[in-house]
């Protein structure tokens, strides 16, 4: 069974997914970051595959990706690191990146390596739905990699239902129309959007991302979805020189602050 499926069956609410760019602050940090996150209550890990031209990313994630590339991160190195890490954790692991590096790796070869590595899901924001359906859907199924797609406040209901039908694992709901890490707190229109999503009775769990940076925003998301995805706020608080990269403190503040 795919670990994402098993995880949401066991724990349908209050899930926390953490995103970071593999290779930042260093290639060696990939393993301790994932294992420390697990010890501190993360439910799902999203491993960012850096790209030279990340259209949907805000400055924090973009910079961490640029530094990861400067550190020499490649698709092959990410798979190598993760296959070692997979022996040490059962957390669902999701890869997130852009289409071009996957195309150059070879799409089927990429899915095959992901499967052998023990990856559970793949998010490629610039892979069009129609092309996924036409060219890659059966390959995802064959290799048991869950396709995860984004929705935004501008996505019409019928398209959300269509995305729900094509998705497995969870749906990534972008909280507002923005690149990552660019909004502060939730407004009434956010809440209306979350309520609209709940009323659609989707078959996949909803994970809300973008704009979650503290306990208050996290609790709002926990009230309105299956969980939250945090990226920019986590990366911003990574301390390259600290033994645990500052992760324990960040997670404690996020989950326990009253």
């Amino acid at each position: 069974m795919n670990r994402l499926e098993a995880h949401f069956t066991n724990k349908p609410k209050r899930n926390l997914a953490i995103y970071f760019s593999a290779g930042y602050p260093s290639i060696e940090s990939i393993e301790p970051i994932i294992l420390t996150l697990e010890q501190n209550g993360a439910d799902i890990i999203e491993i960012g595959m850096a790209f030279s031209d990340p259209l949907a990313d805000g400055p924090v994630i973009q910079n961490s990706g640029t530094l990861a590339l400067a550190n020499g991160i490649t698709t092959v190195k990410i798979f190598n690191e993760l296959s070692t890490i997979r022996q040490k954790t059962d957390l669902p692991l999701v890869l997130m990146g852009y289409l071009n590096p996957v195309l150059q790796f070879g799409f089927e070869e990429f899915l095959k390596q992901a499967s052998l590595t023990g990856i559970d899901g793949l998010i490629l924001p610039d892979l069009p739905l129609e092309i996924f359906e036409r060219d890659y859907k059966t390959l995802y199924e064959f290799y048991n990699i869950f396709p995860i797609f984004l929705i935004t406040p501008q996505t019409p209901d019928d398209r959300i239902h269509h995305i729900d039908k094509l998705s497995k694992g969870f749906i990534y709901a972008v909280s507002s129309s923005s690149t990552t890490g660019s909004s502060e707190g939730f407004s009434l229109s956010h809440i209306r959007y979350f309520e609209r999503l709940q009323s659609l009775n989707l078959s996949n769990p909803l994970m809300i991302g973008f704009g979650i940076s503290n306990q208050k925003t996290l609790e709002t998301v926990f009230d309105n979805a299956s969980g939250a995805i945090i990226g920019s706020a986590f990366i911003k608080n990574l301390q390259p020189s600290a033994k645990d990269y500052g992760i324990t403190q960040f997670m404690n503040q996020l989950l326990n602050e009253q």
């Binding site: 031209d53 490649t74 289409l99 590096p101 195309l103 150059q104």
Partner: protein, 402 residues
């Protein structure tokens, strides 16, 4: 015949053969979808056509002349005509597109315009039409290009545009485009993004090609008057993203008698590692929402291009050109920095016209091929060279000696 005639037109889902498409994140879906479903209808409205034609005539100064360059003709042993896009208002073909897109934006009820720019020509053309239409204008420009192209930055500012430096990546055109797309993601309701070339997600490559097609339309009419035949033997244009070439080729795409030639920027040479010849050194890949021929590493990271001409300094190319190259419908020559400089000085001295460095790449095709006396060659002179005077003056001594 009908299916054959569609060979070089964009398909309903935005592809030219295997190139094109709309590889965009969901955050852009609503905006791009709106354009996809509405652009053809809006472009065919009588009110749109009238407004567009009137502005091109009275504001831009069209039709631009088709000038038979007799001294060049004599030298190259053929009839060489120059399509004088350099005589448009703002000094290049770019304004044909911005006039059309700003009218489109008005029609869509957008209040704010964003654009990317490399050399600054598209930025100036966008700032110009925004001033004309009284719309807010933000232009993204690589921090490196802001320094390299200071006069155009000054023009944009005087026209009331806000110029925002792109400080990510290599800080040039590709990064300015990334920043413009991010701006659009963050302003999905009120903003229209005026892309400057036949690149980006569908429908931009087709939209921009249609708005530049006025170039080939005029060439046909003018040639008919001047030579008795509307069909040239050759049309030559430089290609970065490829908008002036798309416009110069447009009405000849299905006329196999007309040989189309694009001039890519080879930079210091296609094997030097410092080049912008995306068709020759590129591999199929996705940049700025578009599947095309792309300069990239084995790992799929986009590589920085190099050209003496900031306007050709793009690691991808419009999907139409990738398709024309693959099918052999058009030929593409690689022109080095040095060959472009030679051609620019030759045109200045022989015809009294200082071309943009970009356009000089098209002129540099002339000495590269053998021509017949009766050949009718149209070179699209896409822009004027004022913006390149610094580069030209640095190279002046070597041409004075010769």
């Amino acid at each position: 015949m009908i299916s054959e005639n569609k060979l070089f037109e964009v398909s309903e889902d935005g592809f030219y053969g295997e190139f094109g498409g709309a590889f965009i994140p969901e955050m852009l879906y609503a905006n791009v979808k709106q354009l996809q479903t509405q652009y053809l209808d809006i472009l065919s409205l009588t009110s749109f056509k009238n407004a567009y034609d009137n502005l091109l005539r009275d504001y831009v100064g069209r039709p631009t002349p088709l000038y038979e360059a007799l001294n060049l003709s004599k030298k190259y042993g053929a009839r060489v005509f120059l399509k004088r896009e350099d005589l448009n208002h703002t000094g290049a073909h770019k304004i044909n597109n911005t006039v059309g897109q700003v009218l489109l934006a008005k029609h869509l009820g957008k209040k704010r315009i964003i654009a990317e720019t490399g050399a600054g020509q598209h930025g100036v053309a966008t700032a110009t039409v925004c001033a004309l239409m009284q719309l807010e204008c933000v232009v993204y420009m690589g921090a490196v290009d802001i320094i390299r192209q200071a006069p155009n930055v000054a023009r944009m500012k005087m026209l009331g545009a806000k110029v925002v430096p792109a400080v990510s990546g290599s800080r040039t055109l590709k990064d300015a485009t990334n920043e413009a797309i991010r701006d659009w993601i963050n302003h999905p309701e009120d903003t229209h993004y005026i892309i400057g070339s036949v690149v980006g997600p569908h429908p931009y490559p087709d939209l921009v090609a249609r708005l530049q097609a006025v170039i080939s339309e005029e060439i046909m009419q003018q040639l008919k008057t001047q030579t008795g035949s509307a069909d040239p033997d050759y049309v030559i244009a430089c290609v970065g993203g490829g908008s002036n070439a798309a416009g110069a080729f447009y009405h000849f795409l299905h006329n196999e008698k007309v040989q189309l030639i694009g001039a890519e920027a080879a930079g210091e040479g296609i094997e030097s590692g410092k080049t912008a010849a995306s068709l020759v050194v590129g591999k199929r890949g996705v940049i700025h929402g578009c599947m095309t021929s792309l300069m990239q590493t084995a790992d799929g990271q986009i590589v920085e291009p190099h050209s003496i001409s900031a306007g050709l300094d793009y690691p991808g190319i419009g999907p139409l050109h990738a398709h024309l190259f693959q099918t052999g419908r058009a030929l593409y020559n690689s022109i080095t920095d040095q060959e472009a400089l030679d051609a620019a000085f030759e045109l200045a001295k022989m015809e009294g016209i200082i071309p943009a460095l970009e356009s000089a790449h098209a002129l540099a095709v002339l000495p590269k091929r053998h021509w017949k006396k009766e050949d009718v060659i149209v070179v699209n002179l896409s822009g004027r060279g004022d913006k390149d005077l610094d580069t030209y003056m640095k190279n002046l001594p070597s041409y004075e000696q010769a």
